[in-house]
Amino acid sequence: MSQATLRVQKISGHAGTVPGEGTQREYTVCKLIDTTTCIGCKACEVACMEWNDLPFGETVFDNTYQTMPETRWNYWNLILFNEHVREDDGSLMWLMRKNQCMHCAEPGCLAACPADGAIVQYTNGIVDFQQANCIGCGYCITGCPFDIPKMNPKTHRVFKCTLCADRVSEGLEPACIKSCPTGCLHFGSKEDMKFLAEGRAKQLREHSNHPNAGVYDPPGVGGTGVIYVLHDATKPEIYGGLPKDPHVPWTVKLWKGPLKWLGNVAMVGGLIGLFVHYLRYGPKAREEEDINPGGKP
């Protein structure tokens, strides 16, 4: 989904510098999801499928509102429902969270991807998969702390929410934002959305029975381009398993960091070492002269 009007600041599997990096001073965009005013109507799900022209897939009926357990390669935006009993007063909370790619500032998917340009991050912060460059290895799946990238089993290409990079590049808001009937979805600069979210959380803390209300913008992945207002920010897990302190998995960091360096040094060092050994000691014996004096018998 190449966006000619958006500049790129990070490229997966790329050797050398990123052309055009730092040539634009664009503000970081952000989607704000206020879970406290979401009614679980799924208008955003429909808008996402319509705008991105995704084929309809079968739903799974399990006697709840949950139409499928998780996002799919062709279903990028899913409301996760959870009935939660509050510990303090025993009251029931029906929690709904719109789940999609978080557009991490430090995306684990991009760090893990070996294919040049299969995942890019634009200067406005959107993380976008370029299926034309994807090789179908699934490394991105291991790098994401939110279980977002999904592979099409037929084409072996990975898909996820683009934050409607095509719309945003034209100055529009993402399709889901436009469709939300309660106004629980907002879109703008990260700064503005943080301000709005903090104000809403403060309102909840002070004027409702939600003393732990807060904003979810996890620092472990450098902050995200999608932030949530939660009734209880101390327990993000109750919102369909939102991780409390997401990080790029240590396995991925170890693999792309120290292991890569150690491996490269060992391989290059080994080659040089063997070459020098050969210069110093040479072959054990030259077949013609040493092993068979006087040539082949």
Binding site: G13, C137, H156, L259, Y281, A285
Partner: protein, 220 residues
């Protein structure tokens, strides 16, 4: 193929049967393909290798299949050679004297059999490394069928695969160095099947004694 069916040049002895040579080259060709495509995905600086080998998605698709072929060959080697690769007392002495071996003072080495202790180490290193590569590679093969709760397996598999690959690459470099550059005659032995008697006496005196002892018609 037995010795009698193969024409051995005068003053040479059979070292590798046709079956052994074929197995070696199936493993070698598959390994080199795996190495090139694997390294392409290991480092962005080598990604172009996958591009010239038919494109990166093709390399991704074929790498695991080549892996199966590679492992089949390694398994065949295991069946053929494992009994000869047992660690012996001579091997212990060999490791003690390894510094003479690596500085080309072969006359100071204890007499090796068909394989010296270094070659045995290489064999077992390749065998276990290949097994790890196979197991981890199979886990990484089809990420589209991986459920979230078992993703940890794939994360570990990637680490294991890359580490095991690095380990075998170390062995591979030494193997190529010894076989092609250091021990002249070794490369030819795995192509033509035979080595000169001088080669056999020099590098595998124990083995030479064995085959001469077995042979009913003494060689000149």
């Amino acid at each position: 193929m037995s010795t009698s069916e193969q024409i051995i040049p005068h003053g040479h002895v059979l070292r590798y049967t046709l079956k052994e040579r074929l197995t070696h080259w199936v493993a070698a060709v598959a390994y080199i393909y795996l190495l090139m495509t694997g390294l392409a995905f290991w480092s962005p600086w080598l990604f172009w290798v996958a591009v010239i080998l038919g494109g990166a998605p093709v390399s991704r698709m074929l790498h695991p299949w080549a892996g199966l072929i590679f492992f089949a060959a390694v398994w065949n080697m295991y069946v053929m050679w494992a009994p000869q690769m047992k660690h012996t007392d001579v091997d212990k002495a060999w490791w003690k004297a390894v510094r003479y071996y690596s500085t080309n003072q072969d006359d100071k080495m204890p007499p090796a059999g068909r394989y010296n202790a270094g070659q045995k180490f290489l064999f077992w290193g390749f065998f276990w490394g290949s097994l790890l590569l196979l197991l981890s590679g199979v886990v990484m093969w089809s990420p589209q069928y991986f459920a979230w709760h078992s993703l940890i397996a794939m994360r570990i598999a990637v680490l294991v695969h890359a580490s095991a690959a690095l380990f075998t690459i170390g062995l591979f470099l030494i193997h190529i160095y010894m076989g092609v550059f250091a021990e002249r005659g070794a490369l030819s032995s795995v192509i033509h099947g035979d080595v000169s008697i001088a080669f056999a006496k020099r590098y595998h005196p124990g083995w030479y004694k064995e085959i001469v002892g077995q042979s009913s018609t003494p060689r000149k």
